[in-house]
């Protein structure tokens, strides 16, 4: 394969800690899109740029994230995946130096509008963090936190929401007898699933997950992937992952970012089996990053 000079530099720069995985063995199902029906767009980005102070973290991103699909962001560390994700629920507002220009619309709603109420936005866009962050409360109170915040609910309605959310995050059977116990007593994988239950209990439209499985064992990871598979019918999911197999297995669409640029975005099957860009191919086959 011909190698350009810049790629060569990249290869040398990025550590080779990743041994190339065996050729991806993922069975791709034929999606609806293959039949030619493009799903409606949930998030629309055009000429989207982001800065931290003077550091230009994202350059001219154009992307249509489809509704009720799983979209994965992949790319080497520091390429701007988390930055892009955090703009969707404006968590970057917490970073004083962060700013963005361009267009970022959620169902036609301008998310970069200064006057737009971020509290309302975060109600509609849930987020799961890399490190499980259960609140130091009971399991029940963790899940009930969002609903209690936004709605006046009767006790039984709340019970129902809690049970449904815990069932959806496949945690119910493990915790149904200890709902009143502290959430901090759960294992890491259980905690992460609890965080997912907490996010979906607030009934968001979009669910953002920033490396949700990075601290988890393969079994918990599998549980969360299963969960995503289940949730994809109701939620628009955007996930950041460093795990190529996970991206290939669990996502419908895949975006490859590299040093702040969107290199490739498309159907996951196409990106993984027939990448248009050489860098993408190198990355997913583990040749760098």
């Amino acid at each position: 394969m011909p190698m350009t000079q810049s790629e060569d530099i990249v290869r040398n720069k990025v550590s080779s800690a990743h041994v190339a995985p065996p050729a991806l063995q993922v069975e791709f199902e034929d999606s609806d899109e293959a039949a030619g029906q493009a799903p409606p767009t949930a998030l629309k980005l055009q000429k989207f740029n982001s800065w931290y102070g003077n550091y230009h973290a994202l350059h001219d991103i154009d992307m249509d994230i489809p509704e009720k699909r799983v979209t994965a962001y992949i790319g080497p560390s520091g390429c701007g995946k988390s930055t892009l994700l955090r703009w969707i629920n404006r968590m970057n507002d917490l970073i004083p130096s962060a700013r963005a220009t361009g267009m970022l619309h959620l169902h036609g709603l301008d998310l970069l509008d200064r006057d737009y109420d971020v509290v309302d936005l975060r109600r509609r866009v849930g987020m799961v963090f890399q490190k499980p962050n259960p609140f130091p409360k009971s399991i029940y109170d963790n899940v009930a936190f969002g609903p209690r915040l936004h709605m006046r609910l009767s006790r039984s309605d709340l019970d129902q929401i809690v049970e449904r959310s815990l069932r959806r995050s496949s945690l119910w059977d493990e915790v149904k007898d200890r709902l009143k116990d502290s959430a901090l007593g759960l294992s890491g994988g259980q905690q992460q699933r609890l965080c997912i239950a907490r996010a979906i209990a607030a009934e968001p439209e979009v669910l953002l997950m920033d490396e949700p499985c990075s601290a988890l064992d393969p079994k918990s990871t599998a549980a969360i992937e299963e969960l995503m598979d289940e949730l994809r019918n109701d939620y628009t999911i955007v996930i950041v992952t460093h795990n190529m197999q996970q991206a290939a297995r669990a996502s419908d669409y895949c975006a490859f970012l590299f040093q702040g640029d969107l290199i490739e975005f498309g159907d996951t099957k196409q990106v993984f089996t027939n990448p248009r860009n050489e860098q993408t191919e190198n990355y997913i086959t583990g040749r760098f990053g």
Binding site: M91, L94, P96, R122, R123, G126, F129, F135, G146, L184
Partner: protein, 421 residues
């Protein structure tokens, strides 16, 4: 000269050095323990003899045997409660502003930093300085009224002119009701009545017509008195003179100005009362509370803040539902320790209240008071050795209070020590 130094190369030497360092450390540590033991031993030896229930419930006295500590203890408690109820909410509020509401705007951020710098500096200001500040700010309110004894504004007080009346007892006339028949009598004002000169309870004449009559008859009357209907001979007198009349208060009588203050009496400026003392202690401990609360808030992991915000909490909801509950044990511990500092402070209270001989407990917020350290200071400064023992007893009480505060703080810290997610 590039050779390696050989000084410590011998193992023996190194070990000796190591040992001697430990010995120095142990010696240093034991010094403080010895000092503390000697101090406590000496105080217990001197003070235990005088320490009994009578000491705890008695008032200061001119004789050392009878001297008690109750007014000082109650004064300290009042001042501390006032201090805590102002300093803790204010301190927590400030800490929340400083920790949770960092502004994005550059100039606001500068102001923020400036406040933070000031608070850090304030924590190191000697308490005497706060005493002076309290004196200007609370005692005299920057001099709004010419004299501390004449407040510019007050509430919950009635002023009386007290006149000795012809019966030899006295009657109080509210200042606003001079030369009116409706006077306020001291409860159960007694007077002589009737031909037998019997002692009866008097009451004011309330009927305006009757008052007019009296006023006509005795020009210098400013108040008329009559007897209660149940007085002996009332019926006859009533029949004879239409209405019984017992006496009047002369305008020429020399009034004695008195005032009756309710428990809720407040005035501005505060004067040298317990409120001014408590507020001054508040100034002393406020920076401490702010800083310890800030530290507790900072110990709450950011992941919890982000978790709540990502669920659609406002900043206020985040603070109220997550950060503050997580930080409250630390805040409480810090506040209790700050309070124990306040109880032990003598200098600011000395400036506010001075050494006064007080044998009563404060009845309202403006009342004169004394505090434990001040009382001890007073006793210890007297020439008679008997009072030095009384001072030692006072120190035991003060130390007991301080130690129990610290113990409470430790208990809270241990009970609530749990990991935060």
């Amino acid at each position: 000269m590039n050779q390696r130094p050989q000084a410590y190369s011998s193992r023996r030497k190194r070990r000796i050095l190591d040992r001697s360092f430990v010995i120095v450390c142990v010696a240093a540590a034991s010094m403080s323990i010895v000092a503390l033991t000697v101090l406590i031993g000496a105080i217990l030896y001197q003070g235990m003899g005088h320490l009994d229930w009578a000491f705890l419930t008695g008032s200061p006295s001119r004789s050392a045997e009878k001297a008690g500590m109750l007014p000082a203890m109650v004064g300290s408690i009042y001042a501390c409660v006032i201090c805590a109820s102002v300093a803790i909410p204010l301190g927590i509020g400030t800490a929340i502003l400083l920790e949770e509401y960092r502004p994005k705007n550059r100039w606001l951020a500068k102001a923020h930093q400036f406040i933070q710098l000031n608070i850090t500096n304030l924590a190191g200001v000697p308490s005497v300085v706060y005493g002076i500040l309290g004196l200007t700010a609370f005692v005299s309110f920057f001099g709004v009224s010419s004299s501390v004894n004449e407040p510019a504004w007050e509430f919950g007080v009635s002023h009386y002119d007290e006149f000795f009346d012809m019966t030899g007892d006295y009657v109080s006339v509210p200042l606003s009701k001079r030369s009116s028949p409706t006077v306020e009598l001291r409860e159960g004002l007694q007077g002589y009545w009737g031909p037998q000169r019997e002692m009866v309870t008097l009451k004011p004449v309330e009927d305006p017509a009757r008052w007019k009559q009296v006023k006509q008859q005795f020009d210098e009357a400013i108040a008329a008195l009559t007897v209660q209907p149940d007085a002996p001979g009332y019926e006859q007198a009533h029949a004879a003179a239409a209405r019984p009349f017992a006496g009047y208060v002369r305008a020429s009588a020399q009034p004695i100005r008195t005032s009756e203050k309710a428990h809720w009496y407040v005035c501005i400026p505060f004067g040298r009362g317990v409120l001014a003392g408590g507020m001054t202690l508040m100034l002393v401990v406020l920076p401490i509370i702010i800083i310890s609360s800030q530290e507790s808030l900072r110990a709450v992991p950011n992941s919890l803040r982000h978790g709540t915000l990502a669920l659609g909490c406002t900043r206020w909801q985040m603070v109220w539902k997550m950060t503050l509950p997580s930080a409250i044990p630390g805040i409480m511990t810090g506040s209790i320790l700050a309070m124990s500092r306040a109880i032990g402070e003598a200098a600011p209270i000395l400036i506010i209240a001075g050494i006064v001989y007080i044998t009563f407990t404060p009845e309202h917020l403006m009342d004169d008071f004394t505090a434990m350290p001040l009382q001890i200071f007073d006793w210890a400064g007297r020439p008679q050795t008997a009072f030095h023992h009384v001072a030692a007893s006072g120190i035991i009480v003060l130390l007991a209070v301080l130690l129990s505060f610290n113990a409470l703080a430790v208990i809270i810290r241990q009970k609530t020590q749990k990991p935060l997610g």
